[in-house]
């Protein structure tokens, strides 16, 4: 009979984290950032049916990178949590903070339970406020921690590089077209520094728009509307682009 090896808890956790990080890095990156009228979600997604972004509640959106079946599970759990909350109490009592806490608990429990493999997902929960100051963006890595983000956040494959790129260029009060352009620019940078083109059909874009008259602020931007927005920033790119490269230099 073989005696089991002793593995220190530090080593075990490091291995699990490594496993989860590798899984997440295989997926494509996505970007969530604030613009003047709300929060925009941008990602590269060749599939029309399997969404990376979705609505959780009136003002709350969800974005995920990693393994589809795992984050879909978490998403449905989130919708259930939010709907049950809203029905039991009031629609205003469903907050991104509460939801992020539930996700953190779930992910943390799964991560540290030896019986289960850690989830290979990284989530973003965003809530749009009445004003830009009221916007909240939380990033939830695989281990159950919560990071309160401002301005912009990237998760997935080369998140770190994209985050750096965005941190340098993102500013408050961007228009939707500007924000979209910046996000696409960030996503189309390769790990080795080269650029590639992402066609509009491969983009998944959604917004939480605080100016929407309906209670539910989440909206997908598809087809013509997306093309129009991308074109609009193409026209603005000439003036905007030079400005930006000046800033970067």
């Amino acid at each position: 009979m073989s005696t089991p090896f002793y593995v220190s808890p530090q080593q075990a956790m490091a291995d699990r984290a490594e496993y989860a990080r590798k899984g997440i890095a295989r997926g494509r990156s996505l970007v969530v950032m604030q613009y003047a009228d709300g929060i925009v979600f941008v990602g590269e997604n060749p599939s029309r049916a399997l969404h990376k972004f979705s609505e959780i509640y009136d003002r709350i959106g969800f974005a995920a990178a990693g393994k589809y079946n795992e984050y879909e599970n978490l998403r449905i759990g989130g919708v259930r949590y939010a709907d049950l909350r809203g029905y039991t109490y009031d629609r205003d009592d469903v907050t991104a903070r509460g939801l992020a806490n539930v996700y953190a608990q779930t992910l943390g429990t799964i991560f540290s339970s030896a019986a289960e493999k850690p989830y290979e997902v990284e989530l973003v929960v965003a809530e749009v406020g009445e004003t830009p100051e009221g916007d909240q963006i939380y990033r939830l890595p695989h281990d159950g921690s919560i990071v309160d983000e401002h301005g912009s956040v990237a998760v997935g494959g080369n998140a770190e590089q994209i985050s750096n790129f965005l941190d340098q260029r993102h500013r408050d009060g961007m228009s939707l077209a500007e924000a979209l352009k910046l996000a696409v620019q960030a996503l189309s940078r390769d790990t080795n520094g080269g650029e590639r083109e992402i066609p509009a059909e491969r983009l998944e874009v959604a917004v939480l728009d605080r100016t929407r008259p309906q209670k539910r602020k989440f909206k997908r931007i598809v087809g013509r509307q997306l093309a129009r927005l991308l074109e609009a920033d193409g026209a603005a790119a000439a003036s905007d682009g030079s400005e930006e490269s000046d800033g970067a230099e």
Partner: protein
Amino acid sequence: MDFLAGHQPEMLPGNRQLPPTQGVIEAPHGTTIVAVTFPGGVVLAGDRRATMGNVIAQRDIEKVFPADEYSAVGIAGTAGLAVEMVKLFQLELEHFEKVEGAQLSLEGKANRLSTMIRSNLGMAMQGLAVVPLFAGYDVDRDKGRIFSYDVTGGRSEEHNFAATGSGSVFARGAMKKLFRDDLTEEQATTLVVQALYDAADDDSATGGPDVARRIYPIITVITEDGFRRLTGEEASEISRSVLQRRLEEPDGPKAALL
């Protein structure tokens, strides 16, 4: 709802045990709801009165609610139960839409409401019935449709117009004489106000337009563009013009004899 039934069954209206009671339970009741289709959509409207026996329980109750973007439900019967039923119905439609990423078909929505009414049968037997009217725009068929229900959850599709609640008999009579196939949206909204006026005229439990308190019927329109509730000014304008004409002709517009 299935999740709720498993998770927190006490939250569902149908799962509550009622103590045995003698006679009728006194609770506010909502009264008349009317709906009429027109090319391109459907109008759903309701009066504002809730009664408890012979007492007016509330003058400005709201009995017409959006169910989702393309449908609305108007309620007659026990107000408390009906409002909760609508809340749960709205929740279910929204929940389905978010989880599945697509809206339920209009038939699907109507069937779901039917099940919910049926689950209330026990209460209905004790006098706490809920009888809604469901109207929506069918995006697949490009037209407005109306569904009416009975207390047992029996669902039937109504063509052209429908009414429910205590004043429904009179409202239906009025609509029968005023309806035509080529109504515009404005004409349809006027028609429902006329019908509600006639219902209020002959049914004591239905409230007419209250000019002194500025309480007018709730009128909602559902078209291809989705659900829209007429603003206070729009509703008051229609009600006032109807009222103005009624000062000259108390019984309203006359239909041709032959």
